[in-house]
């Protein structure tokens, strides 16, 4: 009895600390000189948080929890399901899950597991996520449900894993992945009890997400030209899964015109690569700004890679659409968990010839091995290209902020040479 009491109290304590983290971050964002009221929509989504019951009430559809971006969002939409990508950016929440997890664990998923423990609707049948969809990307994601159970969160909902082929270029992989995507459609169909969406419905869903990508591209350009601070860009992209896609699009459409014609922000341009960044842990973004660095481009799956981009199809049959989705979400993905990910570097080198950035900041979350591994390859090749490279290994605590800031400041100095 005492034990339960202690757990309950810890949960309450973590919850209030998490809320404080969020409150402080939101407050600091609102106090920025470049804040304007149209951004409230995104701030409100983030400050209301990722509680499953809040999300399902907001979108009015069953919500499937999703890890990683290889499962086509359009397919969820066409099947009448809202995909919600699980993430964690709260240092406080990590406290709940850490005792039940490996010590050298990815801080992002440790925090995500903590956030799930905070989610009261996940306990019973009263709400929460209708299902779980997990593409097998990194080891942490593969073992996610197991870790969740170890954290005392027994999942009662159906789980669908997509076996992600880690070779993108092989035809056999493409065929297998397409089978997985068909499997996902069947799973989502069984979940809702509706018959499978016809090709027109699917094409419509695809068009909606293309629209989202289109508006997001405009926003990306505003960031690339320095009219939007990268910090806001992270806020906006982080909020994507919190609401119905069309509502998010309209909110974004009201932001874009406000930014056009704005003066360019200060700072030396850099490219940010590496592990994703999630609200409310925007430590790295703040440090970059404080060091006088301006992120104009990135390859984080939490920001610029949020959408796979143009899903081109030539064959509008049901099969053609499914194939286009499967291939685009697989072949075009630059996640370091792929074995043949050599083209990732192109996403940095090619723009560097056209853009103003001369350096790459690579951030690795401690425990995120795929990014850590690739950082060495990138470093070698980017230095060959004459770009400056700095790797920062960090986690969600703030104790290394001074160390990181010193390095970023010196890095800025080196860029100015």
């Amino acid at each position: 009895m005492k034990q339960i009491n202690r757990e309950e109290r810890l949960r309450e304590k973590v919850k209030s600390r998490y809320k404080e983290e969020v409150r402080q971050e939101i407050k600091s964002l609102r106090e920025r000189p470049d804040y304007f009221p149209e951004l409230d929509y995104f701030l409100d989504l983030l400050s209301e948080g990722p509680e499953s019951s809040i999300i399902s009430a907001r979108v009015g559809r069953p919500v499937a929890a999703l890890l990683c971006l290889q499962a086509p969002l359009e397919l969820f939409h066409a099947c009448g399901v809202h995909p919600f990508k699980i993430f964690g950016g709260s240092q406080a929440a990590s406290r709940l899950s850490a005792p039940s997890l490996p010590a050298l664990m990815c801080p992002m998923l440790r925090s995500a597991l903590g956030m799930l423990q905070l989610d009261s609707a996940l306990d019973g049948d009263g709400g929460g996520f209708a299902a779980w969809v997990l593409p097998t990307t990194c080891d942490w994601v593969v073992k996610f449900m197991e870790m969740m159970a170890n954290c005392g969160q027994e999942n009662q909902r159906p789980v669908h894993r997509l076996e992600l082929p880690h070779l993108k270029d092989r035809d056999e992989s493409q065929e297998r992945w397409l089978e997985e995507i068909y499997g996902l459609r069947k799973f989502l169909g069984d979940l809702t009890g509706r018959k499978k969406p016809d090709r027109k419905t699917l094409a419509r869903s695809m068009a909606i997400y293309q629209k989202a990508w289109h508006v997001f591209t405009e926003l990306t350009d505003l960031k690339r030209t320095g009219r939007l601070a990268a910090l806001w860009y992270v806020v906006i992209s982080n909020s994507f899964f919190f609401d119905d896609v069309q509502k998010w699009i309209s909110a974004l459409e009201s932001v874009v015109p406000k930014l056009k014609g704005r003066p360019q922000g200060p700072g030396r341009e850099v490219y940010l690569a590496g592990s994703p960044i999630f609200f409310p842990n925007l430590k790295m973004m703040h440090l970059l700004e404080n060091a006088g660095l301006k992120v104009v481009m990135d390859d984080l799956c939490s920001s610029e890679r949020l959408f796979p981009g143009a899903v081109y199809f030539d064959d509008p049959s049901d099969h053609g659409l499914m194939k286009a989705l499967a291939q685009r979400y697989h072949q075009g993905c630059l996640c370091p968990t792929f074995a043949d990910n050599d083209r990732r570097i192109n996403n940095i080198i090619a723009p560097s010839h056209k853009s103003s950035f001369k350096g790459v900041v690579f951030q690795v979350l401690k425990g995120c091995h795929p990014f850590d591994l690739e950082s060495l390859t990138l470093e070698r090749r980017l230095k060959d290209e004459g770009l400056k490279f700095i790797k920062l290994e960090t986690d969600y605590t703030s104790e290394d902020s001074q160390n990181l800031l010193t390095r970023l400041e010196a890095y800025r100095g080196a860029l100015e040479v």
Partner: protein, 326 residues
């Protein structure tokens, strides 16, 4: 205006001019590198394959005369010279537009695209041809080209009757189908004037039927067999209009490969070379349009870049598509 819209417009204008321009007394010569079928009586310009076969059919006459055959008249020699003057015109046309004759101008190519549209309207999927199968088939058009050369040459030696001169035209499905656009159905009937004519016309009907089925399920199915494509391919190093790739800008998303009507893979797989103008490419440049990696694919005319792939372009294109879909 998107590249696709421009291409559709050009294709349709081309179709109208090639097929009906004769009514307006337009003449574009007999050296066109596309299947503008001479059997369409109002046609504006002739598919070069016809004059090519005719010239070949006369080419070796002097040789056969030396071997004791009939002496060729002056007119015949003049026709043989046509082979060369015609070839020069053809070569110039090919060098200027390259394979885009197939993707942008060929009326028979447009017909194939219509048939694909019809399949799409039914919501039927395109049949997929695995690369390994396709590679096995890519020699066919060269075999057809060799057939197209050998038979008229044999005629010129006097070893075959002159009915065989148009060895390819006689079995080309364009001959059966294209005249229908001017209401001419005569090539759908079996020609019983001679045995050879009867065999050719039956063969033509069978091939046409087969091709129609193929074209319904597979985009640009006939192009796999087209000797014109084989002939154009021989000039590949000299094309002015071509697609090039900057492999260091490619993210490998696969849009280019998926959109390719000819199922070319080089454009996707190439990681080092800039030259990705595949032998089976039809120069439509849908790949460059579908590419969302800035500057990764470009269309060049000589040294000038006339189109470059970009995120912006792709995003605008898709915004338009989504607008149409909703």
């Amino acid at each position: 205006m998107t590249v696709t819209k421009l291409r559709l417009t050009v294709q349709h204008l081309g179709f109208l001019i090639f097929t009906y321009g004769g009514y307006l007394r337009i003449s574009l010569g007999a050296y066109l590198p596309c299947l503008s079928c001479p059997f369409v009586y109002s046609c504006t310009g002739y598919c070069y394959l016809m004059i090519f076969q005719r010239s070949l059919g006369l080419l070796l006459l002097p040789l056969s005369a030396a071997l004791g055959g009939p002496r060729p008249g002056d007119q015949v020699l003049e026709n043989a010279l046509n082979l060369f003057s015609g070839l020069a015109a053809f070569v110039v046309l090919v060098i200027v537009l390259g394979k885009s004759w197939c993707g942008w101008l060929c009326p028979f190519g447009l017909l194939q695209d219509w048939i694909s549209r019809l399949r799409q309207a039914f919501g039927l999927r395109e049949s997929e041809m695995l690369l390994k199968h396709k590679l096995k088939l890519s020699w066919i058009k060269y075999a057809v080209l060799i057939y197209l050369v050998i038979v008229p040459l044999t005629v010129s030696l006097g070893w075959l009757s002159t009915e065989f001169i148009l060895a390819f035209c006689n079995i080309c499905p364009a001959k059966a189908i294209m005249p229908l656009f001017v209401g001419d159905t005569q090539y759908l009937a079996v020609d019983v004037s001679s045995t050879a004519a009867a065999v050719f016309s039956i063969l033509l009907l069978a091939i046409t039927a087969g091709m129609l089925v193929g074209m319904f399920f597979k985009e640009r199915f006939f192009c796999l067999f087209c000797p014109m494509m084989a002939l154009i391919n021989l000039l590949k190093p000299f094309y002015l209009l071509k697609v090039v790739k900057e492999p260091t800008a490619c993210h490998g998303c696969g849009n280019c490969r998926r959109t390719c009507s000819m199922d070319n893979e080089t454009i996707y797989r190439e990681r080092i070379k800039r030259n990705v103008y595949d032998a089976d490419c039809m120069g439509c440049f849908k790949c460059a349009e579908a590419c969302a990696a800035d500057q990764s694919l470009a269309v060049k005319f000589g040294p000038f870049k006339i189109f470059s792939s970009s995120r912006h372009y792709a995003a605008r294109l898709f915004a338009k598509v989504s607008h149409e879909a909703n």
